[in-house]
């Protein structure tokens, strides 16, 4: 009854182009941002900030990156974690080797490194239709982790490639506690999410979707498939790279190349499948789901079954639950949680009158 667009007329194309055309949605989104920016830092404890909110935000960003590629441009990457690694080690080296390097610039540079590496691996494989990018990103996954371990320059000659990130300070303010790191992460993620939304609603995004849906028709309109896919892959790698740098700087503090393994790449893929491919919000929902699910499983499965189960059973159980959910979602709701949310909203629009 209260959620409906009746009476809200668009008098200009500008008004019609808004990200959230329905006024109630705009109010809700602003309320959400205010809540996470002003209320959460006050009420959340250290554990919530460090172990849940910061990683959810960072993985949302990585998932957003993959979603641009997979959900919007229709290409599959199995190397998201490797591009996160490039971003993390890239930002680390810029901070290390350039005096007075501003942190935010290092973040951007980390992302650009990831984009450049992405283009390198994308070039041979995106010329051709099919699953070649998946294999190329597997190559990137294995090669990048190997290179970061084997060439000690990347980690400033620490043992087995482990890096400990430098202190973050912006304009003299030091981000050392979980609250300030959370705020920084939130700010970066919100800005990049907005940029992503802007890209997908402009001609860039339409070109991505056109190539995804029908590449021959796109080509005939004058969209170059190879170029379009390559741009999507570069932007996607940039997002993953920034996410990786945040992962190192605001989440873990100490990372090693092996931490960015194939398993992490799959986790990011699962986030967009469960959250919803081709949806910005789906990236956030999926990241929250995949970060929270293991925590729930770890806490509840042993307490339900008591001493009957070993910890290895719990980890296998996780594999089964993840795998099963992926198949379930692909069959039952290929557009994921975001679509379920959408359906809920449509229902709400009609409520309480069903027709």
């Amino acid at each position: 009854m209260f959620y409906r667009e009746a009476g809200q007329f668009k008098a200009s194309y500008q008004a019609d182009q808004q990200i959230f055309p329905i006024r109630q949605d705009r109010v809700a989104v602003w309320a959400l941002i205010v809540f996470f920016a002003a209320v959460v830092p006050v009420i959340a404890d250290q554990y919530w900030l460090k172990a849940i909110l910061i990683p959810v935000l960072i993985f949302s960003l990585a998932a957003l990156g993959l979603n641009i590629l997979t959900g919007y441009a229709g290409q599959l990457s199995l190397g998201s974690a490797a591009f996160m690694a490039v971003g993390a080690f890239g930002a680390y080296n810029f901070m290390l080797r350039i005096d007075g390097m501003p942190f935010l610039l290092a973040l951007v540079m980390g992302g650009l490194c990831a984009a450049a590496v992405g283009v390198l691996f994308g070039l041979p494989s995106l010329r051709i239709k099919g699953f070649y990018l998946a294999v190329a990103t597997l190559a990137a996954q294995f090669f990048i982790v190997w290179a970061l371990v084997k060439f000690p320059w990347f980690s400033n000659y620490s043992s087995s490639g482990v890096i400990s990130t430098q202190e973050i300070s912006i304009l003299g303010f030091v981000f050392d506690g979980p609250t300030s790191k959370y705020m920084l992460t939130l700010a970066v993620v919100v800005v990049l999410a907005l940029a992503a939304k802007n890209m997908v609603r402009s001609s860039t995004g339409r070109a991505w979707m056109a190539v995804r849906d029908m590449d021959v028709a796109a080509e005939v309109i004058g969209i170059r498939p190879m170029r379009t896919k390559l741009i999507a892959f570069a932007v996607s790698s940039f997002y993953c790279g920034v996410a990786g740098a945040l992962y190192a700087y605001t989440y873990l503090g100490t990372v090693e190349p092996e931490g960015f393994n194939l398993d992490l790449s799959f986790k990011i893929l699962f986030m967009i499948i469960i959250g919803g491919t081709g949806s910005i919000m789906g990236s956030f929902l999926g990241a929250a789901f995949i970060v929270l699910l293991p925590i729930l499983l770890d806490n509840f499965v042993p307490s339900l079954l008591g001493d009957l189960v070993s910890s290895s059973f719990v980890s296998n159980f996780q594999l089964i639950v993840f795998g099963g959910m992926i198949i379930f979602f692909l069959i039952v709701e290929p557009h994921g949680l975001a679509r379920l949310w959408q359906i809920g909203k449509e229902k709400l629009r009609l409520w309480p009158f069903p027709h």
Binding site: T70, G74, L76, F121, P124, S125, R127, I128, K129, G130, F131, Y132, A134, V135, A136, L138, A139, F142, F143, W146, K150, F151, V216, L262, F266, L269, F270, I273, S312, F313, S315, N316, F317, Q318, L319, I320, V321, F322, G323, G324, M325, I326, I327, L330, I331, P334
Partner: protein, 308 residues
């Protein structure tokens, strides 16, 4: 030169196994258009199931531990498990996803590989197992005496078994009724259906064959390196093999497998020391990528023409 030959032969012999796994992949890809990422998980599942049955069977049946009766019984049970796995995959995963975009099916097989790995380790445990096929890992004597080249007897026998399988699969595909049906399905699903080829049966058959192939490969690799999770990564190298050979080509899978096997060993031995070693993990993939630049359709693949 002699050392080079040893490395080359060792690589070619291991390449036969890549060819075998790639062939399982090609069969599924041709018959159902599914890019089966779970191939690696299937290899792991098969090997673990075989070893698992070998462990528990003496206790269940009173048969002599390590005897040939246990071996063959475990083999048979593992094979049955793989066929059941194939049937379940067809029923639970593929059938509901029929006519979905290829990318959806691909992602589903990634989910499937998690599911298979979780079930395998959940049932049999996650610890690394040894696997004894009763073939000694010693140099072949006559080769040693005649030309002073070291070739492992184990590798030779394993390659022999895999080679026979590769050949029989290729023949099956080319000359039998099932093979013809398979090729018809690969060409055109609709047309095959309309002349009465039961698509579902074909899918069960190819997944069963892929399961069998996974079992053989898993047993051989497991005997070499131990039955462990890393097997899934070994089997993933079937993917670069396919890029090299062309995704739909049976001879491509064979030649591609040999090239990947030989080149990764040569690269490891001759290039590896200069860059810190361990390049086997990525070399096949990067080689495949470079190959894409030269010949995108693969050695034996057909150029695809879109009908618009």
């Amino acid at each position: 030169m002699q050392f080079f030959l040893e490395v080359l032969i060792g690589g070619l012999l291991s390449g036969v196994l890549y060819a075998l796994v790639a062939l399982g992949f090609v069969l599924i890809f041709k018959a159902s258009g599914v890019f089966n990422f779970a191939q690696g998980a299937m290899v792991f599942f098969a090997a673990l199931t075989f070893v698992g049955f070998q462990e528990v069977l003496p206790g269940w049946t009173g048969l002599e531990e390590g005897g040939s009766a246990v071996f063959w019984l475990a083999f048979a049970l593992a094979l049955v498990s793989m066929i059941i796995l194939g049937i379940l995959t067809e029923k639970i995963v593929l059938r509901p996803l029929v006519n979905q975009p290829h990318i959806t099916l691909f992602m589903a097989t990634i989910g499937l590989s998690y599911l298979i790995e979780g079930i395998a380790q959940g049932v049999w445990g996650a610890n690394v197992r040894g696997l004894d096929l009763g073939i000694e890992d010693v140099p072949v004597e006559w080769l040693m005496e005649s030309s002073n080249i070291l070739v492992s007897k184990f590798d030779l026998v394993a390659a022999g078994i895999a080679g026979v399988l590769v050949a029989s699969l290729a023949l099956l595909f080319q000359y039998t009724k099932i093979g013809r049906a398979l090729r018809a399905v690969a060409d055109d699903h609709q047309a095959a259906l309309s002349i009465g080829i039961p698509l579902q049966h074909i899918w069960v058959i190819v997944w069963g064959v892929a399961g069998f192939v996974a079992l053989i490969a898993g047993m051989i690799w497991g005997a070499r390196n131990g039955v462990q999770f890393a097997l899934t990564y070994t089997a993933l190298k079937a993917l670069p093999v396919l890029i090299l050979g062309g995704f739909t080509s049976v001879p491509g899978a064979i030649v591609g497998g040999l090239i990947i096997g030989a080149s990764e060993k040569l690269a490891e031995v001759y290039v590896g020391p200069f860059v810190g070693g361990g390049i086997e993990s990525w070399f096949p993939y990067v080689l495949a990528l470079l190959f894409l630049l030269v010949r995108p359709e693969g050695l034996f693949g057909e150029k695809h023409i879109d009908r618009v």
